[in-house]
Symmetry: C2
Subunit: 129 residues, 2 copies
């Protein structure tokens, strides 16, 4: 799922937890980059059709919000990379870890180990039943 520059920015805007209609989004982006309301509208529509935004009629306008959070979306993108280049999940993850290794803080490493631990426990649970 490759997004254009404006799409990326709009998505990140919604990841702040906001719900907004085209008008609000437009007034937010107008200052920093210009563009008409129509441009924002078609971008919202594209993101909606791609399943990245949810929307709902509220009075006269659609109110949009993120359909998944940043973490879930990034996970999907990384999954897509694995598929594109025929890498299994394990090696994709190892590639990621190797690349980032030096940049990780102790805290982040701990968080990762906690996830691993949790996953191990889930495994044990499974074999109990």
């Amino acid at each position: 799922m490759q997004l254009g520059e404006l799409e990326k920015q709009v998505l990140q805007y919604f990841w702040k937890g906001r719900t907004a209609d085209a008008k609000s989004v437009h007034s937010h982006f107008e200052k920093r980059r210009g563009g008409t309301l129509n441009t924002i509208q078609s971008t919202l529509d594209r993101l909606y059709k791609k399943g990245l935004l949810r929307r709902e009629k509220q009075g006269h306008a659609f109110h949009y919000q993120a359909a998944m959070d940043r973490q879930a979306f990034i996970g999907k993108l990384i999954e897509g990379i694995g598929e594109d280049y025929s890498a299994d999940p394990g090696s994709t993850l190892i590639a990621a870890f190797s690349t980032f290794s030096e940049k990780l803080s102790d805290k982040q490493i701990e968080a990762l180990e906690k996830l691993i631990e949790a996953r191990r426990e889930a495994d044990a649970e499974q074999s109990d039943q």
Copy 2:
């Protein structure tokens, strides 16, 4: 770094450790998908200009080979995603782990833990000096 379909396939061809000239690559891909030698040539050239293939004149033709292996490249792509969506390395990695968690074998989890351990030791080493 978004690649086209042919580019992806050619790159994977080189990840098998091969060194090859345009002619060889073409004869490899001709069966499964057709296309002229010229198409392969321009694809090799594009990949070369993107820094994904290395090349060297050998007699009258360039011999190409992968400039980095699959793991390094996938690492770079994932890094790019983090940049595109303003995610720090730690959260990118956690997103990857969360997404793949259930799909990982025990072996792959162990491999990951070994990497974490290695990274911890590197840290300790550092603080010794």
